[in-house]
């Protein structure tokens, strides 16, 4: 082992984290140094070329989810902007532009993937999440590792290679990846609660197309608050749970949908309230609320559209989520 200060490190790849810090891989003359920077501390992990058994890259569908979210966001924003007069539609135009830029960036970066580096005792996830870049870097690393180890002659390997698998992921050092071990401890209770509340919100929105009442709106707000709490707990618990990835993704989609509906709905409410006869109500949230409760959707096309959209989309997502959660619970009870 060399004295560490004598090493010269060459940067191989780097990816910034959304909330500050970055993940990077640096190359020394006999090992890769994986640097995890959270903004205020750096942690180092060394992987010697002679110890690396495999580099694995799995193509994921995350880029499609991003594309759908950004695409739908852009469409909804432009659609809303089309129905509103200038300059009230400015926030929607800005949102639409932002979503379009994000859609373009996602399309330019290409398909997503998950990559990991495997040694005899552990599997370490790498930060390479875009296929184009990951393939280019893996190609470079393969050359470096093969210079150290020599080329593996696959024709001589007749038996299955000794990488054992457990619960859908490469078997790994429990100390390193204890979080990733899937379990059936969580039964999906928060998911059931969350999707039930979401379905109730959908029903309430459908009802408000025909009749507007303070009690309905207050119930809807309480459902949103309770649902949001249940959703946070569901998202927290689903991470290590053995539930299907489809259900997990559906929960994330539901969260995004609620977020979009709430933001767009709030902006619209403020715009409509500002156009009312007494614009001073904008300074009082309770008055805005009461003002909107008394509006008839027939007179406000966007309000009508919002209620229909929320009702249909929330119903679809929540029913799908409920079916998936119940099938997970059935599978769990069988086990």
């Amino acid at each position: 082992m060399k004295k560490e200060t004598q090493y010269t490190f060459v940067k191989q790849s780097k990816r910034k984290r959304p909330l500050g810090g970055y993940d990077a891989v640096w190359q020394a003359n006999d090992h890769f140094l994986v640097v995890e920077n959270n903004g205020y501390t750096q942690s180092y992990k060394r992987f010697y070329f002679s110890d690396i058994q495999a580099l694995i890259l799995r193509v994921t569908k995350r880029h499609l989810i991003y594309a759908w979210c950004f695409g739908i966001g852009a469409l909804l924003s432009f659609f809303s902007a089309y129905f509103l007069p200038w300059p009230e539609n400015t926030p929607f135009l800005i949102f639409g532009l932002l979503f379009t830029i994000l859609f373009g960036v996602n399309w330019y970066k290409g398909p997503t993937c998950k990559s990991s580096l495997i040694t005899r005792v552990q599997s370490h996830p790498l930060h390479l999440v875009r296929l184009k870049i990951a393939r280019r870097i893996f190609f470079k690393w393969r050359k470096i590792i093969e210079q150290e180890q020599g080329v593996l002659d696959l024709s001589t390997v007749m038996e299955p290679l000794p990488v054992s698998l457990e619960n859908g992921s490469v078997k790994m050092n429990s100390a390193v990846h204890s979080k990733r071990v899937m379990n059936y401890k969580y039964g999906g209770g928060y998911h059931l609660l969350f999707f039930s509340m979401m379905l109730l919100v959908a029903v309430l929105n459908g009802t408000q197309l025909y009749t507007r009442h303070v009690a309905l709106s207050i119930t809807e707000m309480l459902m949103y608050a309770g649902g949001w709490l249940a959703m946070i707990l569901a998202l927290k618990n689903q991470n290590s749970s053995a539930m299907s990835s489809m259900l997990k993704k559906n929960t994330w989609v539901a969260m995004l949908l609620i977020l979009v509906v709430l933001i767009v709905g709030y902006y619209y409410t403020v715009i409509v309230a500002s156009q009312s006869g007494s614009p001073q109500i904008i300074q009082n949230q309770a008055q805005i609320f009461l003002y909107m409760v008394n509006r008839n959707p027939a007179d406000f096309p966007f309000l009508k559209f919002e209620l229909i959209f929320t009702s249909i989309s929330f119903s679809l997502v929540s029913i799908f989520g409920l079916i998936q959660t119940m099938s997970f619970q059935k599978k769990r009870s069988e086990l």
Binding site: K3, E4, T5, Y44, S50, L57, L152, P162
Partner: protein, 184 residues
Amino acid sequence: MFPCPECKTLLSINERNQDGFNICPNCGEKLILELFSALTASQEASVAKSVSADDESSCFYHTDKIAVQNCDHCGRFLCALCIIPVKTYHLCPTCMAKGKDPTSTVTALKSHALHDSILLLAACVSVMFGPLTFVTSPIIFYYIFKYYRKDLGLVPRMKWRYWLAGIVSAIPFFAWAAMLILKA
């Protein structure tokens, strides 16, 4: 053959599609597998032999096993189970856990505090404290001088954050000082 990370189905490594992917026939997972010689080398499992004669040295950790090597750092005798090869050196589990370097007294660095970022944050936060910057700014200056010349971790890092932290903590300090002097 290599097991699919998703469904454990054994995949034929040589069968790749034209894009260079191994596709699992069971779950349809698209994979790229880069395998190296260390994978086959690990199949040779280490077996520790038992001590059979009195004159044979035994392992420090397993007294009934023959010692076959000694730790390059602490010199303890080790059996085949306890040897941890690190590059060309052999370490015992204790030295490995402590991160000892056999060629020098330097400990292998596992983590490093980024003093420049911490000081910059402290400088920005201390601005909000108003006149208290008379106390916080000298402390920040002290730490800037203390850490500026020290090594900033293993990988190269620019020092502009120290400069910025110094400027951010200096401005309110001198502003308050000027205000107090003018008032006096």
